[in-house]
Amino acid sequence: MVKRNKKCYRLRYYIKVFFTHLFSHVGLCGLVVGYSVVGAFLFESLEGQPAEPTERPTLPRDKRREIDDFRARCLEELWAINMNQSILPVLRKPNWTELTLPKLQQLEESIIGVVTSQRSNGRVEVVEWSFSSALLYSVTVITTIGYGHITPRTDGGKIMTIFYALIGVPLMLLCLTNIGQLMANTFRFTYWSCTVIWRPRRPQATRTSVRYSQKRSSATAAAAAAAALTSVSPGMEFEEVRSQLGPAGDAARARNASGGRTVIVNELGVVTRHVPNDVGMGVRAVQNGPSGTLRTSPATRGGSLLRQQHTPVGTLMRQQSSPAGTLVRQPSSPGGIIRRHPSSPGGTISRQPNGPGGGSRGLLAEPSLSEPDCRGVSAGPGDLLRTSGPATPIKLLDKETRDILVECAEYVLTEELSSLLEASPQRRGVFRDRSGSKSQTAGGGAGAGGISGVGGSPGGAGGGFGASDTNVNGPSECGDVENETVAVPHVSGDKLVDTADDPDAIIDVIEAMAGGDAEDPVTPVTKNPTSATNHVTFSTPVESEKRQPPTPPCRKSSLASRPRSGRNSAGSSGRSSPQRPPTFPTEVPPPPPSVKTVTAGSVSPSSSAAERARRRSDASPARGVNITFDSDSLSLGPATPQRKLSSPARRAAVNIEHPHLRKISRSEKRMRRLATRQCSELSGASTLLSTPSSLDSGVYSSSQRFTFPEPAAALEPEPDELVQVEVVKTAGGQRAAGRVPIPLVLGFVAMYICMGAGIFAWWEEWRFLDGAYFCFITLSTIGFGDLVPGTKVLRAETQEDQLKLVFCCLYLILGLAIIAMSFSLVQEEVIVKCKEIGKCTGILYDSDAEDE
């Protein structure tokens, strides 16, 4: 039985694979191409022979000769008129003219007859049925372009055409929609990458970038990173971030990871899991790079993206550090509010979804995007958070260098911290080290994991670290593996204390950082044999502004956030699970000045520069740590870089997700929409979602994806991880990728048309306008056939024509795919716009959808 089952299963699997391949892009393309080639042979055989004998009045090359004949004949007739003395004994103008005129008219008509013979009276067939022309013919049939420059004359050909089209047209449609989708996503992705790249140059971004760059140059990048960590974000309160070490299982993973590290360059990471607190729902995963520093994608170098979500129940935090980085999950305080501050490229975006329990907010640092590269940081609109560590492998540094680095880092940290504090008197960043405390052990009991807890005590508010310790409640899962803990800088009061006990650990971190990217912010990681929990508290004076009503149900909050969507960072996990208040960037704090472009300090416009600075500082911490929040449940396994996650964990994640999705499906849709919008608005967020894989997995769309790899270089450097991560992805996946402005799409199409116009105009000696007209008529599948390449009237036929015809086919198919792409892009955009308008004016609510 078992065996049979297995066979069955395998068979099914193969069938499945076969079909997926068949319907994959390549398969479809192959199918279409093959089909058209077959059609070419078919029609050539059907039409080719019979055409010869019957009538082939004029081939293009014959035309000139034919016209010459006409002219010669006309001449003779004219001369005859002259000579015919009998009729006109004396030549007189009126008479002569009278006689001549009809002759000329005759000539004219015959010329016209020859020239236009190719066109549409059905009897005259000008174009030969060669293979290439038959190919063009079959392409024009299945694309429904139908030039009509060649048409079947035989009955067999006609019937064949009908059936050929019956199959071919749907096939072509399928292929086009498929390819169109693919291209649309690619386009979207490139668009976003471009925006990410370009944004930084904006003035807003520059300021911070300068600052950072200086620091980098002066101090080591690591130091800068450290500083960043220490810096407190003005707007954010960190109630408490605690990383609890994952359960033993996690530890095991971590080990694997670490093991992998040797294999994989950067993986040193420790994975710590925090089991959700009270509710047990929230999990925060913090992945620290080997060094415990979070690495943002190289692009993001300077900026780190942190997302924190506090779900009422629990929070899930994920911090991803280096790609291989360790994963630390920190349960958020129960009631906590989640804020996400994904950094927008130019600026920081803070997302703060408020949990119902609003009291505590976990704030994650906003990534400071001051660096142009930072843009690379994607807080994917759709929950796609990418923090990619520097692609560069980490090199081991000499001890000396390490030491130096460490010192620098410390120095910078303290310096920056102090400066920050000074800048905002209200804000007191307090870092506490709890290196010693293993709170986590209770739950997991596993090895002591380093916990980086950042507790923000609202300085201005005078609130203590609210939750710092409280969060621990959740069963801590496991100790960190290999005793690597995320280094947490402790700052008490103004002091910054580096808690790292083990110099080695720090060194490791630094190594990682240095190796990877000088610029990468390094969060100091301390390897403590014993788990150390660090709590960093950030007090945010500003907080009051930022706070959202604690209790708003996620949905509401999400809705509320909508209007501001612009400012919101990419629609973070758009799904509003009841628990997870929309990860959305419901940024309360950001003053109304919300700038549409979230990027460069979206918040900033209104906020004073000082704020920005603070934010950046905040962001910097983020660098070190990226925290992404998943919907509560999801966070687990996938976040871990290593594939080795225990399958159960994965499953669990998946399972959780589904019900979740279903429940929320509706709200989720909405959220997604928001997310997409936000995404679009977020310049900063680079959404990598567009990658095909993400597309394919529609199921996972809601999950968050974490990609560590460099955004630009490799979209999915670590495929495995991605796959796992995909599952976790919380927010609408590809959609999140964002929309592309219509003009851009139209411009692209126009460009393509113009390109084609240029080429055809050159080949066929058409005017440029004619070329453009031809391309447009073709691509819109109107296909008049008044202009067809390869049928120039007075011209010898050459071998080149064949090539041109083939090229024309290619141009056609590609162009149609592009058209399909732009259609889907534009459609999305238009629908959203229409709905917005409808909603604004209150004209439509539901009917709109139908119309579109």
Binding site: C74, L78, L101, G785
Partner: protein, 364 residues
Amino acid sequence: MALRRRARRRDKTSGEKFKDCCRGFVAFVFSNVGIIALFLGYAIIGAIVFNKIEGESEREKKDDVVELRRNTVRELWEITYTFNVMFEGNWTEMVDEKILQFQNSIVKAVGEGYDGRAEVASQWTFSGGFLYSLTVMTTIGYGNIAPRTSMGKIVTIFYTCIGFPLFLLYLSNIGSVLAQSFKWLYAKLCKCRPARIEVLGPPVPEPEPRDEDEEAPRWPDELGSYRSQPAAASSEEASSSGSSSSSELDLSTVTVPISMCLIIMAVYICGGAMFFARLEENWDFLTSCYFCFISLSTIGFGDYVPGDSIRSETGSVETGFVLTSMYLMLGMAIIAMCFNLMQEEVIQKVRSCARCLGCLRGQG
């Protein structure tokens, strides 16, 4: 949400009223009638515009060529006149040159759209323009009439940009309406004669009589019948929205077999073929079928176009165009309907198939 909306409505009466008006207007515009009107109106506008643009240039071109011919003759006369004593060699040489010029300019003129049929009615009459704009919008693109002037080309491009989405809207809208009503009809028939339906065979014959009935009277009737169906349906079921939703529920469960859809299409095409075969003397039935298919699939070779031969008989040009246009518009909608129905069916089939194979997990 609903509650909130309602509440809001109560709050602001005047504003809401205005909004209601707007909503009503938009709803109307996007309703079936509105869409059809919009579509027709757009086509008519196109007809007028193109008639203006192309028609004028066509006339001008014609005049130009006539003028050219006259000039050439005059020049020839000059030549003849100057050589008072003519030697064939010289004379021929000179004249040949002139005629060559003439020839080239003719070719050029033809390239720009001169078709030599000077005395015959112009292509770009109103109905010609209408057919043209229809073929452009539907992307059929026969190409028997095509813009020759730069202006015409540019206008065509922008015209299409708007027209094509409009056409799609029309298609999806009318297509779904037709599909709904057809489903309803089908369900009705099934219900009325359960005995027949039980066997797989019966449903097939059923549609046939119906279609033929409609086919015979030709489209106006068909149009009417189609349109009356939904109305009848709604009226029968207490035209309130609630009841309609219930009927929709019923309809959603009804699937029309693919074979029936194909039959409908075939019948429609054949009906059209018969019609065109009668309209155009020199088309045989196969040719007409071919033409109908090529047209309705929007391939539109343009090797056969109804207006072409009709044009010679002056009077019937208009009717030929008009009938063709109507046939096309309705045919497109019917094809869309069939595709709608078939798609549902196919999706269902594929799904169940995949489920059998285990390729799909529960949801598909």
